[in-house]
């Protein structure tokens, strides 16, 4: 345990929460907005700090910045233990980056009851930072719920079309998923006999006394489907496009980009290492659902979308198929690829949701058939959207490529046939991605759009609109060109041998 009074993880969690509290206590709107900048920027700076110093700081049990804070519940093994290992670190940084971009977008969104909206978003951000900084399973779950509940409220209150239905559906699905995974976590806690919730202790105990493979398989199943719903595993994915279509921009960015990764993170950080024998019997079912369901079927469904946000939502569900495939492989390479993909997908989907709102502000429609030729009036927006599209379809040079590529390599060892169908995804995603870019930005404008644009010509992105997009795009390119920037920490965990090599 470090005794350094400067604890970046705790600050990243506490700062947005404190700002939210201050706003909630009745700070005037002008000050609320200014303070909100601080609330969103602090986790971002802390995330950069953690990333920069990660390789140099000492690790305890593989965790850097490990601290423990009493909660009064230590009798049952619940203490606030914060720390990041090589897999948590990239996601913690992702949360900081996307949180800052989403925050900038929200502050400028001009939403009604802006103070409450910002407050909820800050609570959500606090939960996100906490989720990936928690070593204790109890807080891992607690912070997830802390982020999830504001999501429902924001969708239901500030959402767009069908917001009440969407919020209800999201709530039902995500609650069900969270409940199932909670059952799984409790089962691990009880069966291990550890009487402690912290992952390090659980890992040591279960390594020394593994559970019977039957109960491992049962618990893994609970976690798999619980987390699976949260990550939109086919056929439990229908909440996602609907929810994201209705959600306000910043909420969609934070949920699709970061919060959704909770399920994958749980499978990688908890289920696979703690229940190594439990993963095997589920592998083929999971991979089959991921490849045929998420990648092929949802990939085809994405082709049929006319609404920009629905299209992004479905494409995001499709990309989760790659992640599930990597987890089904269960090997070090597969898991490493999933972590890379999680970061990359988080950045790119957040960027796409952000830009789709920028498009909507100019076209007043999300129907791609009613647009066209927008690149003439808004070339910078077109360049950003095109870059984000190429990122999400896995063009080398963007972070997503490394994730998809390594997962494909890993998948061949798992199943030749499934790999063939999974690689088919690179064609499907190119079709819908480029088709969307062409329908929105290139060619001739539609009659309706030309008439509307004639009255009030759309303007290009302003600098304040560009800033959040630049942060996300810059990160995508940075990791795309220099994957070691995050893969070295991941490799540090993979090297410890907690995942299979073959």
């Amino acid at each position: 345990m470090t005794t350094d009074p400067f604890d970046p993880l705790l600050i990243a969690i506490a700062a947005p929460l404190a700002v939210a509290l201050a706003i909630g206590l009745g700070l005037p709107k002008r000050w609320s907005v200014r303070l909100a900048y601080l609330g969103f920027a602090t986790p971002f700076l802390m995330a950069l700090h953690v990333w920069w110093h990660y390789s140099a700081v000492p690790k305890v049990h593989g965790y850097a910045f490990l601290t423990e804070h009493a909660t009064g519940l230590s009798g049952v093994g619940i203490t606030l233990e914060l720390g990041v290992n090589g897999i948590a670190m990239p996601l913690f940084v992702l949360a900081g980056l996307v949180g800052f971009a989403a925050g900038l977008c929200a502050i400028r969104s001009g939403a009604e009851r802006l103070k409450v909206y910002l407050m909820l978003l800050l609570v959500m951000l606090s939960g996100l930072m906490g989720t990936f900084a928690s070593v204790n399973l109890f807080f891992f779950y607690f912070f997830h719920e802390l982020a999830l509940i504001p999501t429902f409220i924001m969708v239901g209150v500030w959402g767009g079309r069908d917001r009440v239905y969407a919020a209800m559906k999201m709530t039902i699905y995500l609650t069900a998923g969270a409940m199932l995974s909670l059952l799984g976590l409790i089962a691990i806690y009880v069966k291990s006999g550890a009487r402690r919730f912290d992952m390090i202790a659980l890992r040591d105990i279960l390594a020394a006394h593994p559970l019977a493979s039957g109960s491992q398989a049962h618990i893994f199943g609970l976690l798999l489907f619980g987390f699976g719903i949260l990550v939109a595993l086919w056929p439990m994915h229908t909440w996602a496009p609907l929810g994201y279509g209705a959600a306000p921009t910043s909420t969609a960015m934070l949920h699709a980009g970061v919060l959704k990764k909770f399920g994958l993170y749980g499978l990688i950080q908890i289920a696979l290492p703690l229940l190594p024998a439990g993963a095997l019997p589920w592998g083929h079912l999971l991979a089959g659902l991921a490849v045929f369901g998420n990648i092929v079927v949802v990939g085809l469904i994405t082709l049929a979308q006319r609404d920009v946000k629905q299209m992004i939502g479905y494409s995001s569900v499709m990309h989760m198929g790659y992640a599930f495939l990597g987890i089904a492989c269960g090997t070090a390479l597969g898991v490493g690829g999933v972590v890379l993909l999680m970061v990359a997908h988080g950045l790119s989907v957040a960027l796409l949701f952000l830009l789709s709102t920028n498009i909507w502000q100019r076209t007043r429609t999300l129907d791609m058939d009613e647009m066209g030729g927008l690149a003439r009036q808004a070339p910078i927006l077109a360049a950003f959207f095109t870059a984000a599209t190429f990122a999400s379809i896995g063009l080398p040079g963007f972070a997503n490529f490394w994730g998809e590529f390594t997962i494909f390599v890993a998948a061949w060892k798992f199943s030749h046939c499934l790999t063939v169908f999974a690689v088919l995804g690179i064609v499907l995603s190119a079709v819908y991605g480029l088709r969307a870019a062409a329908r929105i930005f290139f060619g001739e404008p539609s009659v309706a759009f030309a008439r509307a644009a004639g009255d009030q010509p759309p303007t290009d992105l302003s600098w304040t609109e560009r800033l959040p997009a630049l942060i996300l795009l810059g990160a995508l390119l940075f990791v795309g060109f220099w994957p070691q920037s995050i893969s070295q920490s991941i490799q540090g965990v993979l090297q410890t041998g907690i995942y299979r090599t073959h």
Partner: protein, 632 residues
């Protein structure tokens, strides 16, 4: 400067230039074009320095490691890479200079030159790559730069559609390419080209065939072979210099270069497939060229046909022959002949495309050759250089194409008479349609106002034509004298198969016969007096034949269009419907299985009130706490 750092400079400089232009010079077209051309000049000089400096090296660095999997970036600079790098350097510089004149009045010059620089970066990456993973990265990046440049005039719906089609069609090829690479990695244990070379072709019977054929899929996409050739004619929507550089001389030839790189993985069965795909493409595209009125599209089909020639040449490589003493010998000449033709083709096809650019520029954007005519007197310099290009492609003796085509025909004659017949027929057709293009464009009376007022472009348009015309004239020298340039490219050109004895006579006779037949037919059918602005002479005199050729040309697009609209899109709509109605409505909400039950339970607990979830969650925490602390 060490060779490795020079190679690194040549690779990274265009990337830096593209980044700089994208960030700072978007609206300063002049500065952007200057920067981009300067970089292209450095690349050309660097390419020559590397190739002629005599250093052949390999260097690699690890770029990503996950578990036991390592991904490295590295250079493999041998004679093959040296040759390709020099081609890219020369043609690249010519096209950059030409673009400065051709695109002078374009409002988006910055984007255009940034795209050219990105392309140079990607293409040089393919050339220098020392392993298949790295090659795949740059393979995708050239696809992206191709998309960017075809889409340059994005306001035109045709350009937007063509760029999309090019990228997606290439992705279909890359689907196989990527699978082949992954398969190669696991079954051979490495994707490093030199290590693969040391292993030789061997192993599992099925996979040893599957790997080269899947890798070949990449070449089918990139080099526009049947059935993925459909994107290249459409890609002519891009600016003409782009067509010269990317869609004629370098990028589309990358498929052949890649095949030569993985030659060690080839097995006879795979080569036979490659041979016939190439031969079929060569013949098919030559037939299609007859239906075209657009000067660039004729050249595009000609490019496809010539690429088919190269692919066929590669496929001929390992076909075993029997020498005079009755012993079986392996004629490993495919790489030599393919690369020889790639080299000469890069020069004369870039020349032809830039020449067509000069014509289009002179005629103020007119691309229909039947609305040109009589340009020989108005654009004398363009006419002279274009004529050299036409002479080279139809195989006029002493010009470059004559030697490289003969090398392929000689190889075919030695190894596979069927392929020889197809390729010889293709050569006749090539002669006819190229002379048709030449006669209709440059002779007779002007058939439109624009053609009547045609004029030469400036120095920027003329100088590249002159350089390329010289190369198209003397380029055959490399193949005949492998030791030229102190043997810098001997590793490639010493492999060129030369016919000897009776075979040499047969080849020479065939070659002359092809030329005479083509010239005779072309002059008979397309002599200037018979050409009118209304249309093609064949269309008028033999409408049935012409319609059949048009139907042949359109058949692939028709089939793909039917598949996309009637099958793929309908399937997508159906699945979408099922997704919304079926899964969302019935299966999941119906509550089948555990998930549904929990979902129903959850729903029962909060009918319409989101906030109740909070209480419910808190209750759960209390229960958990009680349970954990042993109260329950």
């Amino acid at each position: 400067m060490s060779p490795v750092s020079l190679a690194l400079l040549v690779l990274l400089l265009p990337l830096a230039a593209a980044g700089f232009i994208a960030c700072f010079l978007r609206r300063r077209g002049g500065a952007a074009s200057f920067l981009s051309i300067a970089v292209a000049a450095v690349i050309a000089v660097g390419a020559f320095a590397l190739a002629l400096g005599g250093n052949r090296f390999e260097a690699a660095t690890e770029w990503l490691r996950l578990g036991d999997f390592a991904f490295s970036l590295g250079f493999k600079f041998d004679d093959l890479a040296a040759l390709m790098l020099v081609i890219v350097g020369i043609v690249g510089l010519c096209v950059h200079v030409f673009s400065a004149g051709y695109m002078h009045d374009d409002a988006s010059r910055g984007r255009y030159f940034a795209g050219l620089s990105i392309f140079m970066f990607s293409m040089i990456g393919i050339v220098l790559a020392d392993n298949l993973f790295m090659m795949f990265i740059f393979w995708e990046l050239v696809g992206f730069s191709s998309w960017l440049l075809i889409n340059h005039w994005f306001g035109k719906p045709a350009a937007a559609a063509a760029s999309k089609k090019a990228f997606i069609t290439n992705r279909v090829g890359d689907f196989g390419f990527l699978l082949g690479i992954v398969m190669c990695y696991w079954l051979r244990g490495t994707v490093n080209l030199s290590e693969l070379g040391a292993q030789g072709a061997a192993g599992h019977a099925l996979f040893s065939r599957a790997i080269p054929l899947l890798l070949f899929c990449g070449a089918v996409g990139k080099s526009a072979q049947i059935p993925l050739h459909v994107w290249l004619p459409d890609a002519m929507e891009g600016p003409t210099p782009v067509s010269a550089l990317i869609h004629a001389a370098t990028m589309v030839a990358a498929g052949i270069y890649m095949l030569c790189r993985i030659e060690v993985l080839m097995v006879p069965d795979a080569l036979t497939v490659i041979l016939w795909v190439g031969a079929a493409t060569a013949l098919y595209a030559a037939l299609c060229a007859f239906t075209q009125r657009d000067i660039k599209k004729v050249l595009a089909y000609s490019t496809i046909s010539q690429l088919g020639y190269m692919v066929a040449a590669f496929g001929l490589g390992s076909v075993r022959g029997i020498d005079e003493r009755g012993e079986v010998v392996v004629v490993a000449a495919g790489v030599g002949a393919a690369m020889f033709h790639l080299t000469t083709h890069a020069f004369f096809k870039a020349l032809l495309f830039l020449g067509s650019g000069s014509v289009i520029h002179g005629c103020h954007g007119e691309q229909d050759v039947f609305r040109m005519g009589g340009l020989a007197s108005r654009m004398k310099f363009t006419f002279a250089t274009f004529t050299i290009g036409v002479g080279a492609i139809i195989g006029l003796p002493l010009l470059a194409g004559f030697y490289s085509k003969d090398a392929i025909l000689a190889l075919a004659y030695a190894n596979n008479r069927g392929a020889f017949a197809v390729l010889a027929l293709t050569a006749v057709l090539t002669g006819i349609y190229m002379l048709r293009l030449w006669l209709v464009t440059f002779f007779g009376a002007p058939r439109s106002e624009a053609a009547g007022a045609a004029h030469e472009g400036g120095f920027a348009l003329g100088a590249p034509l002159a350089v390329l015309a010289v190369l198209a004239a003397v380029g055959g020298y490399f193949g005949l004298h492998p030791g030229a340039f102190s043997g810098a490219f001997a590793g490639v050109f010493s492999l060129v198969h030369e016919a000897a004895g009776a075979a040499a006579t047969v080849i020479l006779a065939t070659s002359i016969g092809i030329l005479l037949a083509a010239a005779g037919i072309a002059f008979a059918v397309y002599r200037p007096a018979k050409v009118s602005a209304a249309g093609d002479a064949v269309e008028a005199s033999a409408p049935g034949l012409f319609a059949a050729l048009v139907a042949l040309k359109e058949s692939f697009d028709r089939v793909y269009d039917y598949y996309i609209r009637k099958i793929q899109q309908r399937l997508a709509m159906l699945l979408n419907f099922i997704d919304i109605i079926g899964l969302a409505g019935l299966l999941i909400r119906g509550g089948a299985g555990l998930v549904g039950m929990v979902g129903l339970g959850a729903r029962a607990l909060h009918v319409g009130k989101l906030s109740s979830y909070v209480y419910w969650f808190l209750a759960g925490v209390v229960v958990l706490w009680l349970f954990a602390s042993g109260v329950l």
